[in-house]
């Protein structure tokens, strides 16, 4: 099967829209969050949440294919890969799975040509399609869950970007009880950037869809001899979207022009606490969760 692309994109750009969505979701899922926090089998729940988060992340990766079109060819229902988006042909050329992030195949690319991929999807949309139909019960296959989540999330962000109302669809999502375990991860990702004080305050209230993130990376700091009391101090803890937490962790490991070709983690070896904190806050800003 051709590998599908990744990339998270098309988050509503205006604070007002993002706040509207965040408030709506907070209201919609508050009972679920209380149930989670009250559950005595915390370890099991955490494992379940991790699995759910992985599923949603995969769905987001599918969603991230620029130029994604819900009507594009899919593997027919009944096939083991039913419901997944596909492309004709195999790897290489126009169908090279490495052309991950955008719609236009690289072998048709011409210098100077203008491609829709250069613009965020949804711009210029006047009136979009209706939202996807919500299955009344949880689909029996992961593929079907992916398919619905991606279609729903795609519709939601597209509508929000276009300034179209999303409240009715959110209410319909609420009515489908099986969705309550998946949606917080998506909506946590839509949070607007906050101040450092707000993110630190949030860390006192763990919620589904979020991780408690160490601004100064805990493992490398411990390896360099910083005490656990500093590493776990409230000033070093923020609550951010689980997806963003994963993105930042990966960013710390990858070589980067900004760090003279080193990974941020390698750059920070032997550095002071203050420098680690500065880079940690820098990452939070770059990934859109901390206000500059």
């Amino acid at each position: 099967m051709t590998r599908l692309p990744r990339i998270l994109y098309a988050v509503p750009q205006t604070l007002q829209v993002r706040l509207e969505i965040a408030k709506a979701i907070q209201k919609l899922f508050a009972p679920e969050q209380q149930r989670f926090s009250a559950d005595a089998e915390l370890a099991k729940i955490q494992r379940d949440q991790e699995e759910i988060a992985q599923i949603v992340r995969d769905a987001w990766r599918i969603l991230g294919k620029a130029g994604f079109n819900p009507n594009e060819p899919r593997v027919p229902a009944g096939n083991p890969d039913g419901g997944q988006w596909t492309r004709e042909g195999g790897s290489g050329g126009a169908n090279d799975p490495r052309v991950l992030s955008d719609a236009t195949p690289d072998n048709t690319w011409q210098p100077g040509a203008q491609y829709a991929a250069n613009d965020p999807p949804g711009i210029g949309r006047s009136q979009g399609p209706p939202p996807p139909e919500i299955p009344p019960e949880q689909p029996t296959t992961k593929q079907a869950i992916y398919a619905f989540l991606t279609a729903a999330a795609y519709w939601l962000v597209e509508a929000a970007l276009a300034g179209e109302p999303v409240g009715d669809f959110l209410l319909a999502l609420q009515a489908a009880a099986w969705l309550s375990q998946y949606l917080p991860y998506i909506y946590a990702y839509l949070d607007p950037a906050k101040t450092l004080a707000e993110l630190q305050q949030d860390a006192l209230s763990p919620e589904v869809g979020y991780n408690i993130h160490h601004i100064v990376e805990q493992t490398s700091a411990a390896q360099d001899g910083f005490p656990q009391s500093m590493i776990d101090a409230p000033e070093n803890l923020v609550r951010i979207s689980t997806f963003v937490h994963w993105q930042i962790n990966a960013w710390y490991s990858t070589r980067n022009d900004e760090f003279d070709g080193l990974s941020p983690r390698d750059y920070l070896r032997g550095k002071s606490w203050d420098e680690r904190m500065r880079v940690g806050e820098y990452a939070l800003i770059l990934f859109g969760v901390l206000q500059p």
């Binding site: 590998r3 692309p5 990744r6 990339i7 998270l8 994109y9 098309a10 988050v11 750009q13 990766r61 991230g64 620029a66 090279d96 799975p97 490495r98 052309v99 991950l100 992030s101 955008d102 719609a103 236009t104 195949p105 690289d106 690319w109 210098p111 100077g112 040509a113 203008q114 491609y115 991929a117 250069n118 613009d119 965020p120 993105q247 990966a250 960013w251 490991s253 990858t254 070589r255 980067n256 022009d257 900004e258 760090f259 003279d260 070709g261 990974s263 750059y267 500065r278 880079v279 820098y282 990452a283 800003i285 770059l286 990934f287 859109g288």
Partner: protein
Amino acid sequence: MTRSNVKTMTVNELVQRFVTIALDQDQALFNDEIATFNKLYGQMDAVRNELKSRPGDQRSALLPLYTHPNIQVRLKAALSTMEIAPEAARKVFRKIADSRRYPQAADALAAIWRLDGKPMVRLG
């Protein structure tokens, strides 16, 4: 790919190699294959250093990649040419940053700050 390989390549071949590496980087990021990405980072460094060393600084041959359909190719082309075409590169960075497609959007935002003379990271 060794440094001697890039020494024997034409400019066009180096540009094609640059594109191939960037697409492989995108794949590596997709698969969370960080070690692979970091190896590819070194390979791309060799290509752009070779282009820079050619008479007249042939990194300008990467400018057409600003309109490539793949976001990683566009990002890397702009990062590799921001010294010789800062304003054109800035436009590429701005579009990528505004797209909020991560991790490329993060790198693009960092590059804009560097062009503004306000890098968050001060090495050394």
